[in-house]
Symmetry: C2
Subunit: 220 residues, 2 copies
DNA sequence: GACTTTATATATTAGTCGATCCATAAATCG
DNA sequence: CGATTTATGGATCGACTAATATATAAAGTC
């Protein structure tokens, strides 16, 4: 007669616990710990021993839950995008104008990348990942896709702005999008070197000056 | 009686060959090969076996000549700066104006980072190095110094431009220098993802628009 | 020539890597 | 209850890691 009795009867899964011994750790929390470790140290430099210690589990549990180090890294990339990168990309998507979208993206990046959120490494895990150069082709392709997704989002927003009349059609959309992506990537490198939020925001500020000049200049 | 007899008598070193068996390989060439391998794969992912194969020597010769993997990487950083990075930083130093210095730096970076020079990896070895995050503190400090050296050169050139009257004193020197450094760093990330020279040059072009607007805007 | 010094090639070191085996524990099913 | 299924902890696997020991080779010095 409680709400609990009716809360999930229509969902096909999760009604019954699985057959065998239940997992003794929180899979999501362990994945989060692994993500932050990969984020801070990179793929190659992070060992299974490092991971099991940070996750608080034994290696057999790690392999049972995630399959392999590569599979764990792939899941960590998804976890990062969903739980950290989305913070400022969501604002980008919701902004009313392309200019405000880019501005909030760069300013939000300045805050997030400088490591203000306690317990998170500095810089973007995806921008700074070099797993593709280290000989892991599949993971490299996944990181590459994640990186280009940002560039495509910028291009799409700019094209929409051209359609809306916010941005003149004479603007080089690709160049402007790549410029914003490059500034954001550079901010990650500087963040890893210890740049603080104010310093990164000043970069974003200059970049917005460039944005405005580029759009104003194309009207001639 | 030949020129050779007189060419180096005043130099205290290199006159005589060293005492024992002479080295059978070209140390500089081997260092160059090691540099390009570290450059392409990063420190952690490059093994001694990879290095000895690329350098064409055995591991005892490597350790006799360079000391350790870390010492070899440190020398590779110096080799990179002297033989690759100097190509576009020299132009920066020789440019008559700060604007031309920055422009030639970014355009030169676009060419060099996109891997046009045959046989060199894409992107900047120093900008993309994550050796400091991988737990190697000394090497990380060396990479950090190399990265900040570029930023300091930019600041110094801007200050000189202010003294010359090229740039108004109201300009935020630090922000502008960091902006240029960030753009250059972002270009390295894009280069590693396969961006070609024209794409990187378009980024440099937008960045220069930002530079001009920033300086013009500060006059108000 | 004998002696010293340095470099190379082969083989090997102790340690760490990612990944598993095994025995035991903890749950559901019948 | 026994049977089945899954998870865990400890031990361990072969492969690879950075770094060396040993023996031989090639140079200068005397």
């Amino acid at each position: 007669m409680t709400m609990r009795d009716l809360s999930k009867p229509t969902t096909t899964k999760e009604a019954k616990p699985p057959r065998g011994r239940p997992r003794a750790f929180d899979r999501e929390a362990a994945l989060g710990a692994a993500t932050r470790l990969f984020w801070a140290k990179g793929y190659e430099a992070t060992s299974i021993a490092d991971l099991t210690q940070a996750m608080g589990i034994g290696s057999p549990s790690l392999y049972a839950a995630f399959g392999s180090k590569e599979a764990l890294y792939a899941e960590a990339l998804d976890y990062y995008r969903a739980n950290y990168q989305s913070l400022f990309w969501d604002k980008f998507q919701r902004a009313p104008t392309a200019r405000e979208a880019v501005r909030t993206l760069l300013v939000g990046s300045a805050g997030a990348l400088s490591g203000c959120s306690a317990g998170t490494p500095s810089g973007c895990m995806i921008a700074l990942s070099s797993v593709g150069s280290e000989g892991h082709r599949e993971l490299g392709a996944k990181v590459y896709e994640a990186r280009t997704a940002g560039l495509h989002a910028l291009k799409a927003r700019l094209q929409a702005a051209v359609a809306d009349g916010e941005v003149p059609a004479s603007v080089d959309i690709d160049a402007l999008a790549r410029f914003v992506a490059a500034v954001q990537g550079g901010m990650s490198i500087m963040a890893r070197d210890g740049a603080n939020q104010a310093e990164l925001e000043s970069v974003a500020d200059v970049a917005m000056t460039g944005w405005d000049a580029r759009i104003a200049g194309s009207r001639t």
